[in-house]
Amino acid sequence: MITSVIIFPGSNCDRDVIHAISENTGTKVESVWHKERVLPEGTGLVVLPGGFSYGDYLRCGALSARSPIIDAVKEHALNEGLVLGICNGFQVLLETGLLPGAVLTNKTLTFICKKCYLRVERNDTPFTKGYKKEQVVQFPIAHNDGLYFLPPEKLENLEKNGQVVFRYCSESGKTDPEFNPNGALNNIAGITSRSGNVLGLMPHPERASEDILGGKDGVIMWRSIQRWIERE
């Protein structure tokens, strides 16, 4: 398995992702500058990392979604390759159209940086196979614009299609509004494409990948991806 981590000007979680994946899977991880037009040969997973690409100018992720490498990422996704967008990477995926929806500024009017509980809604995706269904995991969030939004009819379709993979919840898995940190509709923290090979989420699994950081729930994601790719 080769992972390609795309670096945009302003990405700042790329090294954390590279560290988390290589330490926990022992597989090769390459960095790819956004101006490249092709992905390294043998790429199984593409990661769009967190950060503030292009300073969040215009809209979060809008300018990165038009970077030269994006056509290759889209092609990779079309060919059933795995694509993971974390935080700003999720915002980029929304702007590319690889995932539906948009993000708005947090309802709290503040940048939120804290640990969050998430309920795993689907464990049949390449990214979440190792989790139990409805397992509660803890990943931190760190964002200003994380209120996931879709117009009502489209949101209904997203739910009907089972595209919600992670929802903000309490420690015991309750998804009441009080456990929703940013006002995301239906407590949505992460979604997948219809085909299941593209996942985007606001929380950071790479920041929950070793004990010294306060938890290792993210490790299961890296190992799930590894098992999925190596079995193919």
């Binding site: 215009l58 300018l63 038009r66 702007e95 929806g101 948009a102 947090n106 309802k107 009017l109 209120l147």
Partner: protein
């Protein structure tokens, strides 16, 4: 000919405008009790080389569709005038 294009981008009705809410709060705190609502948008200016005003408008519209506006959450208005 160069045309000056002024684009207003704003959140669609019904889309939560957190920034607008924050600004409204600040205005009310400053004593502006008459305030009913606030919505905040973006003002983008472009200078476009085109043969006619209509052509400049169309080019700006394409730019809005492609990058400047996210039609899921935003609406926009375009005004075109001859550049001074």
């Amino acid at each position: 000919m160069i045309f000056h294009v002024k684009i207003l981008v704003y959140l669609k009705e019904g889309v939560l405008d957190t920034q607008g809410k924050a600004v409204a709060k600040a205005l009310v705190n400053a004593g502006h009790d008459e305030l009913v609502n606030t919505r905040v948008g973006k003002y983008i200016q472009l200078w476009i080389n085109a043969g006619t005003q209509e052509e400049a408008y169309t080019k700006a519209e394409v730019m809005c569709d492609e990058i400047l506006v996210n039609e899921l959450i935003e609406d926009f208005d375009i005004e075109v005038e001859h550049s001074k």
